[in-house]
């Protein structure tokens, strides 16, 4: 029984989806911290979190592999909800209304809005780039099979893709804090009907149809 002033909650993420998301998230944080330690000297102290420089170098690629595998599974689940549609471009053209919380002026969105979809594909591209370049520069196992030119290009690509990914995730985390109720969706799995109505009206209609 739901009380009248406490509307029933809508499930946005199942327990399995949340688990997968947080496996990716934890692995990302560890991979990012260990990677940043090797990215810039001023962040080398982060290697202490992993037991020193050599341990950071040893662990980073294995953590990243966990992230890559978990991400493939997660992206597979969310792929169909992230296909870009015509209305997404209209939404993006009103990005000023988006960042200024004038959501009432925006076109209706489905389960994900255009920015979330773009982020999704940025993540897909970055993860693929990181995985492929990471294999080339993984000295302990694979570097001996590649020419030095390929290793140099891969090292540059790896740093670039990692940088884009870190920036994208900063935006992702901020957006989750910014849009109140999003955090609960990914921690407890539920949102209020009002949240769905305001942010993802198309999705709300869709689930009410069924």
């Amino acid at each position: 029984m739901t009380e009248p002033d406490r509307p029933e909650l809508i499930e946005r993420y199942t327990a399995n989806q949340r688990t997968q998301h947080w496996i990716v998230a934890i692995a990302f944080v560890l991979a990012a911290l260990s990677g940043l330690a090797m990215f810039h000297p001023s962040l080398f102290w982060l290697s202490h979190l992993f037991g020193g420089g050599p341990w950071t170098r040893i662990l980073h690629p294995y953590i990243a592999l966990v992230m890559a595998v978990a991400f493939v599974a997660l992206a597979g689940r969310f792929w169909k909800d992230n296909r870009l549609e015509a209305r997404d471009w209209a939404w993006l053209r009103q990005i000023k209304d988006v960042v200024n919380n004038r959501e009432d002026r925006l076109p209706e969105t489905g389960r994900y809005n255009a920015a979330q979809k773009l982020l999704f594909f940025v993540l897909v591209v970055c993860m693929a780039g990181l995985l492929l370049s990471g294999i080339v520069i993984w000295r302990a196992w694979f570097s001996q099979y590649f020419a030095v030119g390929a290793i140099r290009a891969a090292a540059l690509l790896h740093a670039l893709a990692a940088w884009v990914l870190v920036c994208a995730i900063i935006v992702h985390i901020y957006a989750a804090l910014w849009v109140k109720g999003s955090m609960r969706a990914m921690t407890r799995g539920v949102v209020t009907p009002g949240w769905a109505w305001k942010h993802h009206r198309g999705w709300l209609r869709e689930i009410r149809k069924h």
Partner: protein, 306 residues
């Protein structure tokens, strides 16, 4: 080990200057390898093993004199034997002692992410401090000469030290001491350049019109230099690069890319913070809940009518 008499002028993954009040007024050092005098006896390889306590694994003969086949973590110098048929149709045996070139602008040091794992002394020697090495292998990617090697046993990078321990106490590198023909000489870089100039003049008078000194400017010059009979074609000497320089990819990756990338990451986070301060959160209130509930009723009504 940082030897105090060899002051460090550059240190890997370090953004502030190392102690630099002392200058190398006595000049930088250099090893000169005169390929035109080399007889390929490998005494230098043996001396290197002996002084540095290195014993490489026994390899296999692959049909050439090169032994071992390549530089390894335990073979810091290797003689490379190139057979070159010159335009006159004669065979020339070009023998080059390979090893670290001790670049003035070292690509290994630029690429290294571990503070203090690679240092450059005021006298020009580039040295690896294995206790700080994390084993990532970026030095291999950074080196224009394909010199550093990572040990499969301890995952540390190794290469010729130019016997920094001997030089620090006023002695020549072990290979120099062992060379029976005077093909290897050691001294200040200036003296070695002068000595090389005399050698080049002599070689030219003997018909080697393209004889010259290999001290490539692309890496700021090197503290290991070659006298070559064919200085116009260094690639004849088992692929000695004609114009070595730090790769543009490495330059971007380890140069401008690092600080700019870091600054933009910080700016992204700051942009979020100030968005929060200026615009604030997007919140859902009772009106949204009421609207959602109303829409539900309408939906139900329509469903009922249908």
């Amino acid at each position: 080990m940082a030897l105090q008499s060899l002051d460090i002028v550059r240190r890997s993954a370090t953004t502030t200057p190392p102690p630099g009040v002392r200058d190398e007024h006595t000049g930088a050092v250099a090893k000169l390898i005169d390929t035109t005098k080399c007889i390929g006896c490998k005494a230098c390889q043996v001396a290197c093993m002996e002084w540095n306590d290195l014993r490489d694994d026994i390899g296999t003969n692959v049909g050439v004199y090169d032994n071992p086949r390549d530089l390894t973590e335990a073979s810091w110098t290797v003689m490379r034997y190139a057979e070159y048929e010159n335009p006159a149709g004669d065979l020339e045996w070009l023998i080059r002692k390979d090893g670290c070139m001790h670049c003035a602008d070292p690509g290994c040091l630029a690429a290294c992410p571990a503070p203090g794992a690679i240092v450059q002394y005021a006298n020009g020697i580039v040295d690896f401090h294995q206790e700080n090495c994390i084993g990532c292998g970026y030095c291999i990617a950074g080196c224009p000469f394909d010199v550093p090697r990572i040990s499969r046993r301890d995952r540390k990078a190794y290469k010729c030290t130019l016997c920094s321990d001997r030089v620090a106490v006023g002695r020549e590198p072990a290979c120099i001491k062992a060379c029976p023909t005077g093909a290897l000489v050691f001294g200040t870089k200036q003296d070695m350049q002068q000595h090389a100039a005399q050698r080049v003049e002599d070689l030219k008078s003997r018909g080697f019109e393209h004889a010259g000194l290999y001290d490539p400017p692309g890496v700021g010059g090197t503290h290991v230099m070659y006298v070559l009979h064919h200085a116009d074609q260094p690639q004849l000497y088992e692929d000695l690069p004609p114009d070595p320089h730090i790769s543009a990819a490495v330059g971007l990756w380890k140069g401008a890319g690092k600080p700019i990338g870091l600054a933009l990451m910080a700016l992204t986070a700051l942009a979020g913070f100030f968005h929060y301060i200026r615009v604030g959160r997007s919140e859902t209130d009772e009106r949204d809940e009421a609207a959602a509930a109303q829409a539900r009723e309408q939906h139900h009504d329509r469903a009922g009518q249908a």
